[in-house]
Symmetry: C2
Subunit: 337 residues, 2 copies
């Protein structure tokens, strides 16, 4: 099976990370005989300035004919790029691992929590209106269909992990909407895995108290946004967290962190989140194709990254090292098998 | 000035904490010549079971003629008690200090952040509907009036603290509603204090990364619910966090923690959050009356609590001690000046 991947280098640190990562991509493609075609497209703040649209028509046309999207961070126009793409292509499952890397100091030991975030509805629908000058309203939308669909994704991940799912909601206050989400999750998950429910405020505290009480967390779009940033920081650093946005026909892979304009262009950014996102992309290619080479390539990449962290010599400043972006990339590159 | 206080002992551990705390209240009233009348009322799960209403009519009648409400934790009916009271009496400012106590281990050193949570609108309005069987919607409501009002509260607190306010929202996604909240905060706060804005997901991560980058956080109801639980756990424990709900005509004081049914009736619960809430109540009485005795009583109570923690001998199991509820209460009682 072959894959067509649209690449959005993005804004801020995005382009330099992508361009530095190219040699890693090429080596993986070559060593494992992967059939991937990469096509660079423009989207984000720079595209908005240039074309008046954060997601220009010519970009959408290419994305439309692609199987996957590999995306760097985008600046202030992120909503118009990534939230739009998620909904446009019904990429309903936002998968966010919060997993510690060897040698990266954190206060919580070895953390390994997976957040499965519903990715198409909730307040992210964008149904918002002013009512006069002084009042504004937004619609939170929850459907049984989308809730059961995301619960099923959580189920699949839990089976491959520690077999536990926590459904996070706030049905004590939002009895109808979050109530529907909870009921849907319960109907899919109860009896199939170790299942419990937790209010979102309690979950935010419990992630701090004892993150590994969680295995898989399944939650709505908005809570997932907040809890996944919190969890990845607890695992070590928001700057290291990858993510995937999975749909039946298309999927998108991106670091969770933002464009980091303050360090852009200096060649000091940490490429880990982007590279781990490539790892998730290769894994998805394996799921779809069942061809082991994609899985092997993904494992080779992840292993190299972990090795570089274990050795701790060629890592960037944000994780306590002094390597530049290019040095860290080279080190990972040399370790690829 | 004299005050009439309705006391809701609440569910779970609520009643035992209140009954044990009575001797402290009596001593403060006597030593400082406070003019407070306490009237016990029923509300919560037990009231629901008994009268078919979590907030029975006779309770509301007494609350209606009271100046303040001192409330223990309530079980599953919390929404019908506390959210209803907040809205009914327009208690618009939910003040939630996340402050470390001496000797209470946490991973973050000495934390001191104040969360000022808008308390009357957002998704908490309770405007929710099913649309057919499979879809449900809830309305998030944000007004300029309520947003500016809460920003002004944050301003007052910041002036007495480190002079910094962070407005937390998600206006990159909810441009209209959170946009209105942000604009309102900006108009009140910018130029008057050190002011910045942060997306709620970034704030959830930054609380973990470096909590003391924050002084006062002002935010909407829903984000405030989540971030205040997270912050209090970061400061030490959710179980220790007090809060006040301030309105122009009435206010309510309550621990942030829940009913903790699992340890109820065992006499081992930690009374700190309830006692610190009493401290906040006495402070509010001072603000309203300008009579120093209320402030002195509040300071005496807080000082006693801090002393008991500093000594670390008579503290409950949840904070690493072995004292029973009654022993910890007695120790605080003896230290009162
Ligand atoms: C940039 C923003 C629109 C986005 C979101 O809120 O989903 C981001 O925070 C994320 O989590 O991917
Ligand atoms: C019990 C619940 C309704 C309440 C809330 O969500 O406001 C609680 O979590 C709180 O923070 O006081």
């Amino acid at each position: 099976m072959s894959f067509r991947v649209s690449v959005i280098p993005g804004d801020g640190v995005g382009p330099e990370v992508f361009f530095a990562s190219k040699k890693i991509l090429s080596k993986l493609v070559e060593s494992y005989g992967l059939k991937i075609e990469f096509i660079e497209v423009e989207a984000g703040d720079a595209a908005l300035a240039k074309y008046g649209e954060a997601l220009p028509k010519q970009t959408l046309k290419i994305i439309d004919s692609s199987d996957m999207i590999l995306k760097g961070p985008v600046g202030e126009s992120a909503m118009d790029v990534v939230v739009r793409l998620r909904q446009m292509y019904d990429m309903y499952a936002n998968i966010r691992p919060a997993k510690s890397l060897p040698g990266v100091q954190n206060k919580f030991g070895n953390v390994d929590v997976l957040i499965v975030r519903e990715n198409t509805e909730d307040l992210y629908k964008g149904y918002e209106h002013e009512l006069g000058e002084d009042v504004a309203v937004a619609l939170k939308v929850i459907s049984a269909k989308a809730s059961m669909r995301i619960a099923n994704v959580a189920l699949e991940y839990a089976k491959r992990r520690r077999g536990k799912v926590t459904c996070v909601h706030k049905a004590n206050v939002m009895r109808v909407t979050d109530g529907l989400f909870a009921k849907s999750c319960r109907s899919v998950l109860k009896g199939k895995v170790e299942y419990n429910e937790m209010y979102v405020d309690a979950a935010a505290a419990n992630l701090v108290r004892d993150p590994n009480m969680f295995d898989v967390i399944v939650t709505t779009n908005m809570y997932g946004d907040i809890l996944s940033d919190e969890a990845s920081q607890i695992a070590g650093s928001l700057g290291l967290a990858p993510s995937s946005n999975i749909g039946d026909r298309k999927s998108l892979f991106e670091p969770v962190h933002g464009a980091a304009f303050d360090i852009a262009g200096k060649g000091v950014v940490n490429p880990t989140a982007f590279l781990l996102s490539i790892g998730m992309m290769l894994e998805r290619m394996y799921e779809l194709s069942k061809e082991p080479k994609y899985l092997e390539a993904s494992q080779s990449l992840n292993k190299s990254i972990y090795q570089v962290y274990s050795e701790g010599k060629k890592i960037t400043a944000d994780v306590g090292g002094s390597a530049k972006l290019s040095e860290m990339i080279d080190e990972i590159y040399y370790k690829l098998t």
